[in-house]
């Protein structure tokens, strides 16, 4: 078991420590999870960026297993809530109960709910009622929950990984856009490839004891989160992030044609924050000290796909949001001048 270490004062050593920690953590998760490399990487990026993740995929692709494995790889408390239509906010947050002290006096005492954990798996989050969903989402945004007028801070790091199934929509309560916006990334878990499926069968149908090691502590995660924010970003890269987000707004006068035609509401400033923070973690994980345009390109889909709402025409035409974002990023790059040919200017 790896021992918690204090980050080195030297910046290069801190970055090296981050890179090592990131790779070790990913390797631990990969001991159990076959394939889904991008999803695993993006979940870790979200962990170090301080955001929450919404995983979407059909049943049986390993969403829950991925989250459980990640929790086992960290020295952090883990809670799991299976969302059902009859789940109440109190079941998540906790409730006041009457207790009797040694002197026989009765008083209310707050009994903490499962939200008071470092890593929280909200399984099938769209099965609960909006009231219950909002209880969780308030905690995600504020880092605290209020019960009977008293604010209770959630433990840090607090990392929510919610899952939802895109096909069984009957009797579900899809998350409203305002609440979806609180997730840093929305990741789509895809079917495994042939080789991956073979490997899954191999791993899961034989006698095989896989032990996942705990390789990182909560203070380390918090320290890395601070380090991430120190990573510099060049102005043209930052401008590109702004252009990408603005280009999703059909009202913007320079919005590309696709956005004007198919989008009803574009990404919020949270989208730009998610894009840049995620890009910083990605740069750091690759051992770089700066954010590159490639980082933005790589994270535009998970950071923006749940923040774009298609209009009637987009829905009617069956526009794929991911493809639309790809086109918007290209348009934004030409708008911001990052692809501009300086040769002939």
């Amino acid at each position: 078991m790896a021992q918690p270490s204090v980050p080195a004062p030297n910046q290069e050593a801190r970055v090296r420590e981050f890179v090592t920690g990131f790779q070790t953590l990913r390797a631990e998760v990969r001991k159990v999870i076959v394939g889904h490399d991008d999803v695993v990487t993006q979940v870790l990026i979200s962990l170090f960026a301080g955001g929450h993740v919404l995983l979407e995929g059909v049943p049986g692709l390993g969403k829950t297993l991925l989250i459980k494995t990640l929790a086992e790889s960290l020295h952090l408390s883990f809670s799991r809530i299976q969302f059902t239509p009859d789940l109440m906010p109190g079941d998540i947050i906790g409730t006041n109960i009457i207790v009797e002290d040694d002197e026989g006096r009765k008083h209310f005492q707050f009994q903490r709910g499962p939200i008071f954990g470092h890593i929280l798996l909200a399984d099938e989050v769209n099965r609960a009622t909006p009231k219950t969903q909002s209880a969780l989402l308030e905690g995600m945004q504020e880092g605290a929950v209020t019960v009977s007028g008293h604010a209770n801070a959630l433990p840090m790091p607090f990392f929510v990984l919610a899952t939802q199934n895109p096909i069984e929509m009957e009797g579900t309560y899809p998350l409203p856009e305002a609440q979806l916006d609180r997730f840093l990334f929305k990741l789509r878990v895809q079917y495994p490839a042939l080789e991956e499926l073979t490997e899954i069968i191999e791993r899961t149908t034989h006698v095989r004891d896989v032990q996942v090691q705990r390789v990182m502590t909560g203070p380390q995660v918090m320290s890395f989160r601070e380090l991430v924010r120190e990573i510099p970003i060049a102005s043209h890269v930052r401008d590109l992030a702004s252009f990408i987000v603005l280009a999703t707004h059909p009202q913007w006068e320079r919005a590309p044609e696709q956005a004007r035609r198919f989008i009803r509401y574009g990404a919020s400033p949270r989208g730009a924050q998610a894009l840049v923070l995620g890009a910083k973690v990605r740069a750091l994980a690759e051992g770089r000290y700066n954010v590159a345009v490639d980082d933005l390109r790589a994270l535009a889909l998970p950071a923006l796909r749940h923040r774009i709402i298609l209009n009637f025409e987009g829905e009617a035409e069956g526009v794929d949001v991911d493809r639309l974002i790809g086109e918007i990023v290209e348009a934004a790059e030409s708008l911001s001048g990052s692809q501009k040919e300086v040769f002939l200017k």
């Binding site: 929509m169 309560y173 899809p174 120190e230 510099p232 060049a234 102005s235 009637f312 040769f343």
Partner: protein, 489 residues
Amino acid sequence: MPDRMVLERLVSDVARQIRLRRAEYYGLRGLLWGAVATIPPLLFKELLGGTVLLLSGALLAAGAAAGALYGLMLNLPAREAARLADRGYALKDRVTTALEWADRPDRTPVVEALVTDAVAHARSLQGKRIIARRLPRDARLLPLPLALGTLLAVAPPIPIPQASLPNFSSSREEEEEKPKDRAGELQTAERPRGARPDPIQRADVQERTLSPRLGAGGLSQPGDLAAIFKDTSLGGHAPDFNSFLKRGDERIRMLEQLDRLPDLQRDFTQNQTKMVFQKAKSLRGGLNPSQISPEKLRELLNEMERLGRKGGPNNWSGDVFEGMEALEGGQTDKAMEAMERALSKMRSMDEKGRDGKNLRGGREDERRGQRGRNRGAGQQGGPGDEGDFPEGEGLLPGRGKSASPKGDPTQRLRGMPYDVGVEGQARSGKKSGIDTNLVGRGGPMASRLQYLGVLGQYKKMMEEAIAREQVPRDFQGQVKEYFQSLDER
């Protein structure tokens, strides 16, 4: 702070490469225009004499030099050069970020590490050329003026014609003759425009031997369009090529109306509104509303009205009817406005449906709606009707409380299964309600008069629908008989 000079040297090296390439690029363009400029002097070689070669050479050199100078003098910000260096050397924006952040007062300790990292990368790259040579597009034309110039230079001088006034007399005579000829042609060719020879070769069409058309019930052969019209009113029509040449065959018209033919690729999982919208869009065919013909508009409105009836209650059917009425009265503009209004309402209805935080109760909503309908019909829900089913129970086969895969029968059928469609005389005595099972001729009430008034309209709609829809021929007869019987009453 580490040695930033390495980064600046790298950037200046890239800037030098860019300037060099620009000089080449614009120099070539200058050379092209210089070569073009040499042509006129060479044409007048006889006049200019031996100096023309010197002049041509000077023009060539001046064009190239001017172009190169322009390329060298073009502005090149260091920042752009740094970005190009990043891209050219695949440095992932290290150099740009390092140079930008090195002097910032709010720089973080990581910036120092960044500069060190960027310098380390830059040291290993010194001297590499990253700016590729680019040739201007018009440089491909350069050989032409050069070859022409060379040809003119080596060829003997072109004789220059003597300057003298042209003789207009002969040409005037010719011009006087020409109008006569033209007038003669006009006289012989004078005839109405409509009488021009028909470009369609009728004889060829009429002489074609055609295989006999199969009947509606007959076997269809590959490529035989009869199969498409098998179940339509046109199924029994024989081809009439004379009428086709005059007016166009109705089959051809039907084939043009793609929306009326079965679309096997349609996604029936889409909702009604989207289907209507898509149909409207396809009917409009990307035309501006002002460019839609009345026929096209009528089709569009008919389609919207038909789908509107299928799709349940909506707030745009009224506009569709209004549009149809306006179209009948020949007011195309009004009909167009009504259609646009209906489309807009359709769109807003769908948008509205997706408002309210997108909450979807799914089965809950359906059950609630069903309960409301039951209550409206004066029926009491069953004992289990008020409680919520656990997740997964209810309507799906094998998952509900009912043993029947289709669910429980309704109360009405279970209570009295024989009261459906029973006809007979009205009972005597006071009636507490209206008996809907009455048959026979009704009294001369206003409603009956209205019924008779709209019957003709419905009959017409029926005939249109039969012609439009894929209704089997046997059923067509039944439907027509039914309407015939209504008419007789």
